[in-house]
Symmetry: D3
Subunit: 318 residues, 6 copies
């Protein structure tokens, strides 16, 4: 049962933004934990192809990688392929407390986040610095306070993305997921497909830091994305991926929702990795926005003619 | 009395899109007629500074300028400073007929456009190729069918804009003006200031091809705008304007509504001329948009900190 | 029977360059004639989308287009969709005479080219300025001397390609076609697919100005291509094609043979049009090259992962 | 009483370069110490907005920041807002000794610089590595030998300037200040305002590494400046400052003296921070220069039309 | 005998600016006449390599070329290789009258310029539109009023320069030449070599539009120069010159005086042609400049290490 | 006696690729050891001019430098100027074992590489991680397995190259050297001069990672090269080298073999250092290449007109 049932008319399923919508405005993706069958192979890929740096060895043979300074970005954990956790950095004043209160009010279980996840906290205040919970699809979601990332955002035309930018979750119940992330946690909906099959959610000035797509498979990752600095980088990345024997499987293209340039390739565990640039900015401090509805057609997710990836079989991809 | 009175709540004046909204989707600015006290001086300015080419001498000492090929862009007519006419090129199939029908249905006077205004019509079909009417502020507005502009869109980093892109009209009755341009002619509202003091209207994929701003002075021009190809051009233009002794009076900056980069300078008759790039695109064939409301503050019209031009004294500029 | 039968070993069909190979070194594509069902629609497309300029009206309702100055580029002729003729500009000293001599020695019929095709000849010498013949697939091929193209090569990031660069012919007998173009006319082979299904031929410093691909269909066009100035233009072109309602059907990508960046779209008559940049240069005055053999796999024709166009069903396109 | 009294004629006050002028040619800004009321807030700003990295905690709650490697750039010290010290790196052979000798000859007090300020000295020679004195306005000025800055100059289009480039001091006695910095220390005058209200001083190939402006307030900072790599960065910085809620208060523009592109914003303590690029280079090893005199008008300090910051109330800003 | 004899001290020969210095501030190069042994070959070179357009055939087999619109740029006249004339466009109000008066006062012969040289005059005022005289070396020099050049300044990364920018004359008596151009005509000296062997003269905001170099050979051309838009063009031009079989004989490099990027090649008649960009700007309306003296060493004329062209044997090139 | 004697016909000396040719496909330059008379001066140069970071002090006063993270790049060792060693990183699966086996089969002495050279090995497998041998000219050559270089490839327009890319060895017996590196070690020949005086060898997708040039002097370095990201960097590097008092001694230009842009300068020990970009890529997994033969003329090694460095006195430089 949905807190905020969508409005359904004709062929349209208009998602409704629940009560907490927009309470987070300075919150961004922080890090991601992936379970992979072969950690050394995956770590070598993220080091050599993505340009990440080994920050630490984790228990059981896992590997932690990042920008070479400040907070980490990716944990690679041994196991069957899957999503271990996602995490958001909440820089809104009082934001972490607010998230915790709303999660508890919604009857959800919230735990203190193990401090081992937080390697570059930007404040030294007492009490808990992070919290962890589970979303309706069973994904583990972490929220924590400001961290330092001095190595982030270094423009690198050849080897390293600018930042980890968004994660797109695969779901079988998109309304439940938006109820949670919008109605309780505090994201807003920037765009949706008009059939309710895809929703792009924002928590800072980027068009989306989180998206959910209805694939029929609940829980886990659809893809996740790193930012490049600009279009010029798309050529140097495609050429270098070719040098490294990595196939571009979708793009270069331009998404409708978010207006961002994109290309996709797969990591050795089969995770779809996106590189992105020019994402639309939202200025919630001076504009009143309402979610836009996009036709569920290929030319919505690829404005430049609608070419799709082979693995894309969701509502817009028919 | 308004066809589509705005919704007024608290401090908000939400404009309502009238019945014809969105019927024009392939319509753009075509040319503009300005009355200037000193035609030779103004013509020399448009030739040397803007890089326009003298296409023809007009009666009474007027001058017609354009890209050097195809349809003209600016008519300079002798007289007290003022706006002589604005004109739109309607490329929507059946669009010109539709506009004429709606204007007549609204009880407005429509005349056939004098063919002397149309120097590069793209079709040779019979009957009238253009029409002319008067908007609620008394501005003369022309609409005509497709024309050829082979010289347009040539990227020029040093001397010539890419195209004539939009016109912003000064008004004392913004609701009457949007009633006319949206409710009757067929534009849509992309953005408005939340106090109803400014509205940006679109007729193709550009965020706006026409805007209206409440200055208290009905009729005439607030400013008009040419496109540059990209940000890099802003430096070469500012440097060259300096060489030519022309002061930049506002910018470089970035507008909130339209997200476009901008700079402003004045022509010898005192018209404010904008140079613009990166305007937001709308994809009405695949998305359902609603007008956004921007706070009437300086940081809405200049996202980069709110610096304004001296001559900007409208609602957002307090 | 081939003049220069290929060497066949295992799975390899190595084309042999016939006696005239390399005699043309300053020869490039000049213009192309296409038969299209709806000339006005096609002409409007080439004007608005490709930025070509109407140079002349042709008999029977045809249209001739070009860069707005100098020699024309495209003739659009009324008729069932098809290739009317291709043409090359021979700037090699004595080159035109040599081509004629070799064609006649090979027993082929050569006629003087109707002067109406030559609108900007760069010399005023007497006698015939061009010749016309038929290639083994029955395509009409014109050769003519130097022409003026002052409007060519103007860099245009938004609206016009830099030049007409190559044509790729569809054939059922690739060996006969290379016998003709290499062994008799004087092109060289830059690259071939190792199964003999595709050959890229050069006549100046560009990797290819002509290619032949074995599709099973003899005669006519596979696609033809215009040059853009650089990678940055690919984004502005894709965005503008989207504005104009034209789908990109392949790319952006990078070809193996020629190393050129590419994207493809279709004109209203269904011709595949390529936009290209960064093509590999050959320096035959200071290097001795031999044709390279590429594996007939998708990742040869698209280095960046092998994505192909839907319409590509040739040997490399499994 | 001035060592080198200016030449005053009509409205012109021509500064005279004292005896040491030009003795420093390989000397640049090194670091700066600012007293700020809220160190954590200021440090967070310099980390997040300027992209500096926390190098060390200082006594009494101060914070030291830099490029993440090599010598530090900014010390933030608790206290009422003000300038704590400025520092120059003297790479001229024998330069440090020369500065010390000239300061002492001028009867000024010179102390050995506390080694705690020098965290990446590039040589290990014995004796004092730095010295400290007080300028005529009472500003603390440090000079030290070559240091390592491997993290400097990394081009970063999104998050970090290229280097700390110059400091502009506020003064009530501009002649006394130039007497000191030019006549004793060894800078040269590159440019001045013709009324003697502003002087730009160089110590290496940059047009200025130090400037002094007559504000009527003696001692302390007018503003200080970081280099960006190029004009393209100005857009990405303005956009990112907007994301971070920081207003651009002046620019983008281009200064006359130095010809450098600029923009200004304020740190949380109210210090004016400049971002700059394209500064004019001087080649004193092969050219003989004399200071240029600029009219004290707005269009001297902003070539592009003369727009000024609100806080600029000096002689040129009337 | 010199009007304004230079100051000679030690090894320095400081040129003195004569009475008319700086009276021209809006004057630029207009066109150039070259005598060449083979007009068709030279014309083909300027068409194909420089991208100029044939404007007219001249008497006796000469050819006039330009930007394809507006005033012409180059006249190629049959004859032994040599300079036929140089010409300047005087846009200073009253400037042409002033030049004539000063020439006559100096006792020089001045004639009305044959109107056939003026194909795009920008005004229609009566009386003479141009004048012609002879400089001390016997070079024919034309001055005329404002002309239209709508085709100028189109940025073209591949085929055409932006404008004709300066001419450098070869002389045996540099003082006489600067006496004439500075003391009588009204140029200013921007820079000189310290031995008096080279002087760069300005007449608008560009560092020089005319230069004179002491080669021992009086009269005629040392080289002349066209502007490119930016550094990126230097690569595309070098690559295209290679395609066209034209050797770059000097550069890319950066000049000290003028700070402009440069490269040189020769036309078929052996004239040295320069391509240039980023020339230093002078703002005489707001700054008081004095000529700078450069050491006569290779690293003055090529800041990047001093590599020189083989044909450069003047004072700095030892 | 050569394993694979070249084919000599007329003036052509065609090198023959020995049995191991092409067995290395994922092998690149790793680091280089140079003996220099003044280590502190050389280290300061590599720190300040090349932007390398001091990684470690070596015995006897040597210095080890690198990118600031991961494996080192340059060892500077005290001694008479000379090459101490070169090293390659072998990432081919089983590649290191294969190299060792082939070296031993060829009767060469192979030792385990001292682990002190390997500071960032990417695997922890047992047994030897590297090996060292001597090439026919007596150069010490190291091969080792994959290492981490997280700091490599960071694009830096101002201060640091992207990677160490190739080394060119000086030899008196070019056939013996190619026998060793191609026939035994496993490189391939990409290009050669037609007189056998220069050969460019590849071991990954770059046109060459190693070259050998016949200078008559066996053993030691001709030059070595770092990659820049793109052409735009050539201007900023030339300008900055000028700031640092370092002369560009050759270029900017474009090499024929490799097609790479280049410039050269010298380090304080007189080693020629190249900066390079746009090197041609080879796709050996999908193409069959044969070495190309270039004429031994200046315009082969500098496509843009043939200008050479003063120190280049090899076969092509006559």
């Amino acid at each position: 049962m949905s807190l905020t049932p969508p409005t359904v008319t004709d062929n349209r399923t208009t998602l409704v933004e629940g009560p907490a919508a927009g309470l987070l405005r300075q919150t961004s993706t922080s890090h991601i934990g992936l379970r992979v069958p072969d950690v050394p192979a995956a770590a070598a890929f993220y080091e050599r192809v993505l340009g990440l740096v080994r920050h630490a060895e984790l228990a059981d043979g896992g590997a932690r990688l990042g920008w070479g300074g400040g907070h980490h970005v990716v944990d690679l954990l041994p196991g069957d392929p899957g999503l271990d956790h996602i995490a958001f950095e909440v820089r809104d004043p009082g934001g972490l407390t607010g998230v915790e209160k709303r999660l508890r009010s919604a009857g959800l279980t919230v735990s203190a986040l193990d401090e081992s996840y937080l390697d570059s906290l930007d404040d030294t205040a007492g009490s808990a610095h992070g919290l962890v919970c589970t979303d309706p699809d069973g994904n583990t979601v972490q929220f924590h306070g400001p961290v330092r990332r001095p190595g982030e955002h270094a423009a690198d035309t050849a080897r390293r993305p600018v930042k980890y930018q968004h994660v797109t979750l695969s779901t079988a119940d998109l309304v439940a997921m938006t109820d949670f992330y919008v109605g309780v946690v505090g994201f807003r909906i920037s765009d949706q497909l008009a059939d309710g099959g895809f929703a792009w959610l924002r928590s800072d000035s980027d068009h989306h830091t989180l998206a959910v797509v209805r694939t029929g498979r609940g829980g886990g990752l659809d893809h996740y994305s790193y930012d490049l600095a600009e279009w010029a980088d798309f050529k140097s990345w495609c050429d270098r991926l070719t040098d490294d024997g990595v196939d571009v499987v979708w793009g270069p293209g331009r998404h409708g929702p978010g207006n961002n340039l994109f290309l996709f390739f797969d990591d050795p565990a089969g995770n779809h990795v996106e590189l992105s640039a020019e994402m639309e900015k939202f200025h919630d401090d001076r504009v009143d926005y309402r979610p836009r509805l996009w036709e569920p057609v290929p030319r919505s997710v690829n404005l430049w003619g609608g070419q799709l990836a082979n693995w894309r079989h969701t509502s817009e991809g028919s």
